[in-house]
């Protein structure tokens, strides 16, 4: 019976996990680095302990310190959240050795899925479709050409020793094959001293679609349908939704079955995500499996109604899944927008700093998973994500409208955020039509970078507010020189000073 859990993480996901623990009446232990003494998870936890310096390697990634704290605090389990140690097989193993439940799969499953080649092989054996391509590197030119013909165009040639795009060639037409093979091989030889290559089917305008799965220790497994994660910038997900606008019931069932098979093939335990690369015709191929909770898990929770963290804890505790595949249904539509501390006008440069004001959106169908508060200084050491804004609507249309409204209401000042950029995504006609793939942001870059104008009056109002504020400041400065009410205002001076020192 899990009664006390150490949450080996920070930020919104630490809060997310502790909230479910509190609902389950499980006590929580938080850990914090030098940079996080004032973080919300420290204030929310039942207990909190300092674990090391600001750099993650000294704190949130330091396995032995965390294990030692877990033992000292007498916890039954450790929840790693996402990122940090969540997909670290050594950590999972160390927990096992110390008799602490690790809320996640065992080391073997993490290792198998963590290594791309082993994962690909395991999936192939389990009958889960993988991107067609060579399993072993090829040196012989004619063998390469033959393989390309077997796989079918378009393909990508990749140097087997490669990296950084060197020795990589995209082949779209028959005539390009031979020149491409030769130039790829020669570039590979020059760059890496090894001209052997892999061939992989090229997916032209891919969609990123993933399936949430749950499997308990008794081997019962279900999938909780898909998440469409194709709105990406620099291979980072920005907006996710479920159901996918391109999904059909037939393909959903097939992909879901494959996702469950993928999990079963590694004796998976807990919550996990099977990612597929999918083309416009809904041909799909296993990409990788994330052996942890995903950032975007809330959209599944809103549409399916299950609390995934509670299921994780129940599974770790040895309980059966609370639901069967048949009982699971999707109701309505959900979208998540990731709110980052970054400046979209300066190529999304991170914008750490002190949060001055926050107004969070409220009302029907709106969920904010965040962790910053007014006066909180977002540290420079960790991820720039401030919060996840998640909405539910009865239809996809309603959920887009609700997201638009929520972004409009969401105000964060002190740091720059991606809120305005996300509003433009929600108003983009191809997004509204559900007609997009992973190239969406780059295709619509100019449009998404346009500044929205709030009209001529806006600028005038900005001038008026500045005038009035400045005049008030002057008046105050004068009046405080002319009278001696030092005693009465000293308290507020004190707070003024405080704030000044900390540079709100």
């Amino acid at each position: 019976m899990i009664e006390k859990v150490l949450v080996a993480n920070r930020g919104e996901i630490a809060m997310r996990i502790m909230r479910s623990c509190r609902e389950m009446d499980i006590r929580t232990v938080g850990i914090y680095s030098d940079a996080d003494r004032t973080a919300l998870h420290v204030r929310y936890a039942d207990e909190a302990y300092h674990i090391g310096k600001a750099p993650s390697s000294d704190s949130y990634l330091h396995i032995e310190k965390i294990i030692a704290q877990a033992k000292e605090s007498g916890v039954d389990a450790i929840h790693p959240g996402y990122g940090f140690l969540s997909e670290n097989a050594t950590f999972s193993k160390r927990c096992q050795e110390e008799g602490i439940l690790f809320i996640g799969p065992d080391p073997m499953a993490i290792e198998t899925m963590g290594d791309k080649i082993t994962a690909r092989k395991t999936m192939k054996e389990a009958g889960v479709p993988v991107v067609p391509g060579t399993a072993e590197p090829i040196k012989d030119e004619s063998k390469v050409v033959e393989t390309i013909h077997n796989i079918g165009l378009p393909v990508m040639i990749k140097a087997s020793a490669g990296g950084g795009g060197k020795g990589m060639r995209l082949v779209m037409t028959e005539e390009e094959i031979l020149p491409a093979v030769r130039s790829a091989k020669s570039e590979a030889r020059e760059s890496f001293g090894d001209d052997s290559v892999y061939i992989e089917k090229y997916i032209k305008s891919p969609h990123h679609i993933e399936f949430q799965i749950l499997e308990d220790k008794q081997g019962n497994a279900v999938h909780l349908f898909e998440r469409e994660c194709s709105v990406q910038r620099r291979h980072q997900k920005v907006v996710e939704e479920t159901p996918s606008p391109i999904m059909t019931p037939e393909v959903r069932e097939k992909m879901g079955r494959d996702a469950v098979n993928a999990a079963k093939a590694v004796n998976y335990r807990g919550a996990g995500t099977v990612e597929f690369v999918t083309d416009d015709n809904l041909n799909y191929y296993f990409l990788e499996m994330n052996t942890r909770l995903q950032v975007e898990h809330p959209i599944t929770e809103l549409v399916v109604g299950i609390d995934l963290v509670k299921e994780q804890l129940a599974i770790a505790d040895g309980k059966d899944l609370s639901v069967t595949q048949k009982e699971l249904t999707q109701k309505g539509h959900a979208i998540e927008c990731r709110i980052y501390a970054e400046d979209p006008n300066e190529n999304f440069r991170p914008s750490p700093g002190k949060v001055k004001h926050i107004t969070e959106p409220m009302g029907q169908g709106v969920r904010v998973d965040g962790y910053v508060y007014e006066g909180y200084e977002i540290p420079i050491h960790y991820d720039p994500m401030i919060s996840k804004l998640v909405v539910w609507g009865l239809t996809r249309k309603e959920s887009i409208e609700r997201m638009r409204r929520s972004l409009y209401e969401y105000k964060i000042t002190g740091v720059k955020t991606s809120i305005g950029f996300l509003e433009k995504v929600m108003k983009q006609s191809d997004f509204i039509a559900g007609n997009y793939n992973t190239n969406f942001i780059s295709h619509h870059w100019d449009e998404l970078m346009e500044t929205e104008e709030c009209g001529e009056d806006c600028e005038q109002m900005a001038i008026i507010a500045a005038l009035v504020d400045f005049e008030k400041k002057q008046q105050y400065a004068k009046s405080s020189q002319n009278n001696g009410q030092a005693e009465k205002t000293s308290y507020w001076k004190y707070f003024g000073r405080q704030k000044n020192l900390t540079r709100i």
């Binding site: 305005g420 806006c458 109002m461 507010a465």
Partner: protein, 168 residues
Amino acid sequence: MALEIQIGDRLANVEKVSEEGSRMLINIDGKEFDVDLVMVEEGVYSILYNGKSFNVELVNTDDPKSYTVNTLYNSYEVDIIDAERKYQMSRRGGDVDEETYISSPMPGKVVKIPVSVGDEVKAGDPVIIVSAMKMESEHKVKKDRVVKDILVNEGDVIEGNQTLVVVE
């Protein structure tokens, strides 16, 4: 009291003509605005103008005469140009060559300083690399320069807009 207010590229002549409670008559470049204005939160003003409801937030900078002003979709840099400021501007004379002071707009940590004092650097060479939130930014010189001073060390935590390296 009439003031000049710089907003982006525009210089506006502004005067509060009258005030009665929250009702104010403001003249901007000869046009009068009859507004109802109240500060509802610290630095946040609610303005009603012609019935329309505006929410304007002022973010203070270190300089009491400079603001960042946020309206619904726009963010403006606003400077109050009063007599004192005008005097300062006239004294300051010609433009400072900002290019000789290398800084990072983003707070973070100094990852690497690939130059030393006295080094000659070519246009486009990086002189300092700063990291924040898992992202590194290189700061380069735009012309051929000589490194005159380095004000920080590798590993230092820095604020935004702090001068890091001086070149000439």
